[in-house]
Amino acid sequence: MTRAERNGAGRAMTAMARAPLRGRDPGAPDELLEVRNLHIHFPTDDGLVKAVDGLSFRVDRGHTLGIVGESGSGKSVTSLGILGLHEGTNALISGEIWLDGEELVGTTPARIRQLRGDKVAMIFQDPLSSLHPYYSVGDQIIEAYRIHNDVSRKAARRHAIERLDRVGIPQAAMRVDSYPHQLSGGMRQRAMIAMALSCDPELLIADEPTTALDVTVQAQILDLISDLQAEFGSAVIIITHDLGVVAELADDVLVMYAGKAVEYGSADDIFGRPEHPYTWGLLGSMPRLDRERAERLMPIRGTPPSLINVPSGCAFRPRCAYADLTGGRSTDEVPPLRRTAPGHLSACHLPVGERRGIWAEKIEPNL
């Protein structure tokens, strides 16, 4: 398949994906980010690692997209791609990333640097290793702010204190001079959020923002993210392996497996009427507090595939309990991401009626 063909297919797919998803015209003013048929491959000595392989999604202003998947499914590589952070590596990137009408794939590093921190900001998983230990948190926020805004150091410092206060750091005027090691894990993550928000970004990408935190602190941070989103009206992409966190925050959910989207829909679709066997597997794997204790968990058999040797056809086939029902199609053909209901897309060879039957009869009652 040539690149043009791929892009063409990608466009058709996204057009399908987006028109019904929120019922708005493509290119509607609310649309902030659109990713079309994104491929991010890494050539290595062992072969080509297809970390992201034909991914399309969109995020509107004021909305939250959750990207879910296991380690190695390409979630973080996607977010680094949006921020242009594969620059200088040997990553091969193709496809399109449109941010507010501007194509990011192929723009100059200088332009990306202008956007990064200003229009797009990121919260990383581990605040201890992503904050610089030699500089006070205030200095780091001031630096980020002054790169994008022509203000005096004094004004920037006032701004930093105001933002630290906004994210709920007590005695912000004093804490602005603290070094990262002097803050607790939750406070450090708040400082990271303050830094990410210092320039009022339109798109905030949070990559596993609460994985390193305790559950009570996690609840505080999730509240903070959704409050700030309401206040600043920014779009948020939250990347996590924790389905609970996604259900808490996201409007739309994208489930990734081996670099591809396997299911995409509203949070109610994904948690209430999931249509892909992998999504069923994720739901069946997690013990839940909101239901009676399940006698047994229903894990997915096997392990996630190597991204160098992705299984032919449907990448999930070797782990799928229903692969035999497709009559061999899953070994030969990659299932396309197809619309099965308004705003709900899934990539599976099984007829959708059959899948709904399996969900209703075999999966949901045993969750």
């Binding site: 296991e70 380690s71 607790s184 894990g185 939750g186 406070m187 305790d214 559950v215 009570t216 602190v217 996690q218 609840a219 505080q220 999730l222 509240d223 392996h241 924790d242 389905l243 609970g244 966190v245 996604v246 259900a247 808490e248 996201a250 949070a267 109610d268 948690f271 209430g272 597997g281 994720l282 739901l283 069946g284 794997s285 997690m286 013990p287 839940r288 507090l289 909101d290 204790r293 399940a294 047994r296 968990l297 229903m298 894990p299 997915i300 058999r301 392990t303 996630p304």
Partner: protein
């Protein structure tokens, strides 16, 4: 811990005869010192400060709490990897609290540990055969058909291919490595297994596989587990009884069913309500209890009830008198002056 409480706990434990492990007044304080030549103690981290609990044959006790609450220290005390500051650990009728390493060694067959990180807990230079066979070698245990055969049986038991005997840890995925660790733990057929965060480093789908494996092994081999974890839903799934810890103390101890249906300690209530639910419709903060602030430092824990600085029900008495761990309902112990759900 006072002697009175110790005696009480001993009297209260109903199935004392059936207990595999009984812990009374267990404490571990880590000294904080200053000075190089004139070293002197300036304080102590009260990692674990007076625990009373028992574990009966064949049951699973879950220890749950946030980081810094002392759950890992407790696990290390039970396996005698750390020397207790005070208190008593009775395992299978023997007081093992201060046994010398030489006297402890034979008992190590009976108490084994599963570690959190399957990457750092396996020696990268040893083959799987050497790793899983090490317990036989160290304890000089002879097996009927030789060590290799025994190791291969163990690999099969935990769901690994016995032909992988000669492979190295880096050739396996995280979940498979955790299975190797479990095989090593099971080698000498221990009576008690202390599992410290056995699944937290694994992907969701792999977590479920390992949780199911632990349950199957318990049914098959009649194992007793102490499972340490921070994930409340995993603990509920796997445990018969659950102890909730906060700053080195048990604040609530009950059967898994009671604890999750009617939590009585405010901290347990807050902890449970903080778990995000995978049900978007349930979103909303109506019934949510949000704790403010962080866990205080165990170097200088709050006096009396240690939770009073973050508790919304705290009153004068909470700052002056420490609530004892009292049995409010059969099998449901709570350390609180103003318990919930009563």
């Amino acid at each position: 811990m006072s002697e009175a409480t110790t005696a009480e706990a001993a009297a209260e434990s109903p199935q004392a005869s059936n207990a595999l492990l009984t812990v009374t007044g267990l404490a571990k304080h880590f000294a904080v010192t200053r000075g190089i030549i004139f070293r002197h103690q300036v304080g102590a981290v009260q990692a674990v400060d007076g625990l009373d609990f028992g574990v009966t044959h064949g049951e699973t006790l879950g220890l749950v709490g946030e980081s810094g609450c002392g759950k890992t220290t407790t696990g290390r005390l039970l396996t005698r990897l750390l020397e207790p500051t005070s208190g008593q650990i009775v395992f299978d009728g023997n007081d093992i609290t201060h046994l010398r390493p030489g006297r402890m060694r034979p008992l190590r067959r009976d108490i084994q540990m599963i570690f959190q990180d399957p990457y750092s807990s396996l020696n990268p230079r040893h083959t799987v055969g050497a790793i899983v066979g090490a317990p036989f070698r160290l304890q000089r245990v002879k097996t009927a058909h030789g060590t290799k055969r025994a190791v291969q049986d163990l690999l099969e038991l935990v769901g690994l291919n016995p032909e992988h005997y000669n492979r190295y840890p880096h050739e396996f995925s995280g979940g498979q490595r955790q299975r190797i660790g479990i095989a090593r733990t099971l080698a000498l057929r221990p009576k008690l297994i202390v599992a410290d965060e056995p699944v937290s480093a694994l992907d969701v789908s792999i977590q479920a596989q390992v949780v199911n494996l632990l349950e199957d092994l318990q049914d098959e081999l009649g194992l007793t587990y102490v499972v340490i974890a921070h994930d409340l839903s995993v603990v509920r799934h796997i445990s018969d009884r659950v102890a909730v810890m906060y700053l080195g103390k048990i604040v609530e101890l009950a059967s898994s069913k009671q604890l999750y249906a009617t939590p009585r300690h405010p901290y347990t209530v807050a902890l449970l309500s903080a778990v995000p639910s995978p049900k978007p419709a349930a979103r909303g903060r109506g019934q949510r209890i949000r704790l403010t602030g962080d866990v205080p430092s165990p170097l200088n824990p709050p006096p009396a009830c240690r939770f009073h600085t973050r508790c919304w029900k705290a009153q004068g008495i909470c700052r002056t008198t420490e609530p004892p761990l009292a049995e409010l309902a059969p099998g449901h112990q709570v350390a609180c002056h103003f318990p919930e759900n009563t």
